[in-house]
């Protein structure tokens, strides 16, 4: 009787239908000034557009400036900051708020072409992450492995940001 009970979990596992692998997920995290901000708000909308385009496998998380563990670990002291997974994707200086204020991949940030470039860069990286995660998942399902590594993908930033003061913005309703 005891032997039969001990074997029960194994029997149940064998009888259970093969479950679908859990969806691969990539989390995009934005560290932003908490409320109205001409830097942070366009960034959040572009990130949400990427997430909406790529579907349920992409999560969006938003951390308030001064309260972000990811930013603290990356030694980024300003905003906006964008992470893909745990990796720094865009630092404040990329938006034109570095010490010189005039350089940066997406400067000037108000130019729709630069916002489009940011969106396209982000989408490309997240797609790559999803593909990588999917391949790992496939291998895991085939091999019966039990872990999924979130392997780094080229394109992420690791340098420390140093940026100038963003502009203050106004509250809605004005």
């Amino acid at each position: 009787m005891i032997t039969a009970l001990a074997a029960l979990p194994l029997l149940l596992a064998l009888m259970a239908p093969a479950s679908a692998p859990p969806p691969a997920e990539v989390t995009i995290t934005l560290v932003r000034w908490p409320f109205m901000c001409t830097l942070s708000d366009p960034t959040e909308l572009l990130i949400r557009d990427v997430a909406a385009t790529l579907g349920d496998r992409v999560n969006v998380a938003v951390d308030n400036y001064g309260q972000s563990e990811l930013a603290r670990r990356a030694h980024v002291e300003r905003f906006p900051v964008v992470f893909v997974g745990d990796d720094l994707f865009a630092a404040p200086e990329d938006f034109g708020f570095g010490a010189n204020g005039t350089r940066g991949r997406y400067v000037p940030w108000t130019d729709p072409r630069n916002q489009r470039r940011f969106r396209d860069d982000l989408e490309a990286l997240v797609r790559k992450r999803l593909e990588t995660a999917g391949e790992i998942l496939d291998r895991r399902v085939r091999s019966g492995g039990s872990t999924m590594a979130d392997s780094p993908v080229s394109g992420v930033r690791t340098d420390r940001a140093s940026v100038s003061s963003p502009r203050r913005t106004e509250r809605a309703g004005s």
């Binding site: 000034w33 908490p34 409320f35 109205m36 901000c37 001409t38 708000d41 366009p42 959040e44 909308l45 572009l46 949400r48 557009d49 909406a52 938003v62 308030n64 400036y65 001064g66 309260q67 002291e77 300003r78 108000t110 130019d111 729709p112 916002q115 489009r116 969106r119 003061s165 963003p166 203050r168 913005t169 106004e170 509250r171 809605a172 309703g173 004005s174």
Partner: protein, 311 residues
């Protein structure tokens, strides 16, 4: 007493008399104080608040005067603390402001709009306070002080709303999580933003902020505030797409919606938008009647669907 405090005190008196019309003498006093307090950058808002009060639109007056009051109060805080230069000095002020953070909910029963305004002000306090400290230390001392002043102003504003002696405008409608509506609008607005030109992209900033606040409030189950911010986002988004031709007949469509609101429930949140629509129709609030159409065709139907009315 500062001019803005005087204005708010007068608003309180006006609100105490009725949720609808204000006493002409109080209105005149408020108008004088708004004129005095808002010379300069806030003059346009002051005129708008003044007009709303003159029309007896207390909800609209509160909504319009809020950002002007917060900015003035924050700027005053900076002036009062211009000698604060060191992190230790800032932290001392920071702790003083932190001690004033408002409670979760007003103690008294009020119109749903006041609950929503209170929730929205309260929810902005702590993140603004927390952001002010690294801002002072890492980015810019004066702006750090400004945001600390803004946090103080928001705390005072929340207390002001909580203390307004106004009675509920009816039975409270059943409220629920707005996560589906917030998520849908986020996706729609993000798609609109993708194709917008540079000039119109600035209009998406307040939409994004209202959605963010709606999301935060919804996560806290502060559904009145979430509803208000969701509808403000929807209103601002609708302004971007509502055609000029939609203004035709907007007055009649608003009147039809208004009749559906006469069901004994507290529709003070909808009343704010009705008052905004009236100002649009008068031409005193840009973009004029087209704004009233946005409210009639987008905002109020969404409101009615959410609270279980007839869209």
């Amino acid at each position: 007493m500062t001019p803005f405090r005087t204005v708010l005190a007068a608003l309180l008196l006006a609100a105490a008399q009725s949720a609808g019309r204000s006493n002409p003498a109080v209105t005149a006093a408020i108008r004088a104080h708004i004129d005095e307090a808002n010379r300069g950058s806030e003059a346009a808002l002051a005129r708008r608040a003044d007009r709303a009060l003159g029309d007896g639109h207390i909800y609209l007056a509160l909504h319009v005067v809020e950002p002007a009051w917060v900015r003035q109060s924050a700027e005053r805080f900076v002036r009062e603390h211009e000698k604060v230069r060191t992190p230790d000095g800032f932290r001392a002020e920071w702790n003083r402001v932190r001690a004033t953070l408002p409670d979760r909910a007003p103690a008294r029963a009020q119109p749903l709009l006041l609950t929503a305004l209170h929730d929205a002000a309260r929810a902005r306090c702590e993140p603004t306070l927390n952001g002010s400290l690294p801002y002072f230390e890492e980015i810019d001392a004066r702006d750090g002080l400004y945001y600390l002043g803004e946090a103080r102003a928001l705390a005072q504003l929340a207390a002001f709303y909580a203390e307004l002696p106004m009675s509920p405008a009816g039975t409270t409608p059943a409220l629920r999580s707005l996560a589906p509506e917030i998520g849908e609008l986020y996706a729609n607005v993000a798609a609109m933003h993708r194709t917008a030109d540079e000039r119109s992209r600035t209009a998406f900033v307040p939409i994004s902020t209202s959605l963010r606040l709606a999301s935060l409030l919804n996560d806290e189950h502060a559904y009145a505030g979430a509803l208000l911010e969701l509808l403000l986002a929807r209103y601002q988004a609708a302004l971007l797409v509502t055609p000029v031709a939609a203004a035709d007949g907007a007055r009649e469509r608003l009147a039809r919606v208004s009749r559906t609101l006469d069901d004994g429930r507290d529709h003070s949140i909808a009343a704010l938008f009705m008052q905004m629509a009236a100002l649009h129709l008068s031409g005193a609030l840009p973009p004029g009647p087209r704004g009233a159409a946005a409210i009639a065709d987008e905002v109020l139907p969404a409101y009615l669907t959410i609270i279980g009315g007839r869209p």
